[in-house]
């Protein structure tokens, strides 16, 4: 089983603590969304896991081994840290070949990935002529070169067009379904909600949450019920009688806060209120995330301090 284990990680830059006693595990077979505002330490953590930066204290292992001890690591771990890292003067294909060569990955695999990431037609063009979306695809191709068990992507949807976003979503789902360990950082909530099974949330270098996404949302966003009726007076009366807090919207529908659809449905039925529409309103990841960050006072004071290493 190839999981990523981060144990008591701390990284200080001068006096600033970018990552603060962070511990979590990323398990295979699911997509783990890595959330947090800019400067929360997501990229720093990924670099520490890859052995690129030295931790001030703590350690990280992949499948029980430190990254630096891996033999031809691209076969085990693929990472996209920064789509701008490819040298602009090389062609996309040559860029991948230079990565592949050091890990004994044949050029055939390079061409396969260029095809898979939709870059085959521009493979022999210089990277500097690529759009941001094309560079992201090239970076993802680089991460998948060695058919790795563990994939770490830092903001992979950056600059992708709508087709690209759907493509990456399906790719991540497929990789997880194949039993791989997938860690994807993002600050786009709706995007993350579309592919993540599990969440690791950071704030100011500390772990704020490490839970399945559904649980994360349910724990933080109270359920609501959307209801539409032809008899608002009756509806209002019934809800008030049972102590429900309801809000009427301009288009005529009502939102009942902190209520479950089963309860409201039964209530309406027994009271004989004519119901035109009745639906449960699922909490969104965005709401849950904002709820979490609002409760972190530090965050509210510094919503997104710019951090150089996050660039």
């Amino acid at each position: 089983m190839t999981s990523i284990d981060v144990q008591d990680f701390t990284k200080e830059y001068g006096t600033r603590r970018a990552v603060d006693h962070l511990s979590f595990r990323v398990l295979p077979g699911r997509v783990t969304g890595f959330l947090g505002p800019n400067g929360a330490g997501k990229s720093t953590t990924m670099r520490l896991v890859l052995g690129l930066d030295r931790p001030t204290s703590g350690s990280a292992t992949i499948g029980g081994r430190a990254y630096a001890t891996l033999h031809e690591p691209l076969h085990q771990v693929g990472a996209l840290l920064d789509a701008q890292a490819a040298h602009g003067s090389r062609t996309g294909r040559d860029h991948l070949r230079t990565l592949a060569a050091g890990n004994r990955i044949p050029d055939r695999r390079v061409d396969e990935l260029l095809e898979e990431t939709g870059l085959a037609s521009v493979a022999r063009r210089r990277v500097r002529t690529y759009s941001l979306g094309m560079r992201q695809r090239l970076g993802i191709a680089g991460a998948l070169l060695g058919d790795p068990e563990v994939v770490m992507l830092d903001e992979p949807s950056n600059g992708l067009d709508p087709e690209g976003i759907i493509w990456i979503r399906e790719l991540l789902r497929r990789l997880a379904a194949e039993g791989r360990t997938i860690l994807v950082s993002s600050h786009l909530m709706n995007e993350t909600a579309s592919f993540a099974d599990h969440l690791v949330v950071l704030g100011r270098g500390r772990l704020l949450a490490d839970t399945p996404m559904r649980e994360f949302i349910h724990a933080r966003v109270r359920p609501r019920v959307r209801i539409r009726t032809s008899d608002p007076t009756a509806l209002k009366a019934v809800l008030a009688r049972h102590g429900h807090d309801a809000e009427q919207h301009e288009d005529g529908h009502w939102t009942v806060h902190h209520a479950r659809v089963d309860d409201i449905g039964r209530l309406m039925s027994s009271a004989g209120v004519p119901v035109l529409e009745l639906a449960a309103v699922e909490g969104t990841l965005e709401q849950a995330y904002l709820d979490l960050t609002a409760s972190e006072a530090e965050f509210a004071a510094h919503p997104s301090a710019t951090q150089p290493q996050e660039a």
Binding site: L50, L52, A101
Partner: protein
Amino acid sequence: MSFAPVLRAEWLKIRTLRSLCGALLAVFAATTAFSAIAGVSETSDPEFDPLFMALSGVAPGQIAAISFGAMAVSSELHGGGLRLTFAAVPQRGRWFAAKVTAIAVPALLVGLLTAFVALVVARAGLGEAASGLTVEEQLRGVVGGGTYLMLMALFAAGLAALLRSGVATLSLLIPFILVVSFVIGDAAGTVTDFLPDRAGQVVLHQTYDGTLGPWSGLAVTALWTAAALLAGAWSVRRRDA
């Protein structure tokens, strides 16, 4: 992880960058061009040294060699490129050794070819004036000149790794070679004889009378280069990518 695939990757990186191939071509072009010009210049100077005259193109040519070495390293450094490299090859010492080899081998081969062609071209111009050169001296000039060009490329590569900047390396080395060594060099004290470029260029002379001979001079340059490479390797291994 064995060395050969890493070396192959590093060689591929050099081959696939037009600027690096261009720098190697410039080593050849600048050296032979300046040697050719020297070949048709005045030869009546009493201090005239036909071997150094024929290989005088090495002095401008070394600028291109330095650029090659510095750029081969600095091409890794921009925009997180080094992270990409270390993610693929986490054994940093091995990576740096492969990088240095991938710089050294083409630099030496181009250097040897360059010095040989420069000598042939310049001799065609010098004619009788160069007839006093023995085969041994000419061989020393060519082997020494090629080795010198390689050592200067590696010296720059080591500095670029240490300073983490190709621009800083070039703005340090090029003025040093053009100005400091050139100007104070003629004031020929014993200390300046031990500067990396001064020491290594003794091998290009037919006659020499300083502290250093041709091979000991080259050895001094090699020591400078080794020091720069060790410092570069230390920086590569120690610092965050």
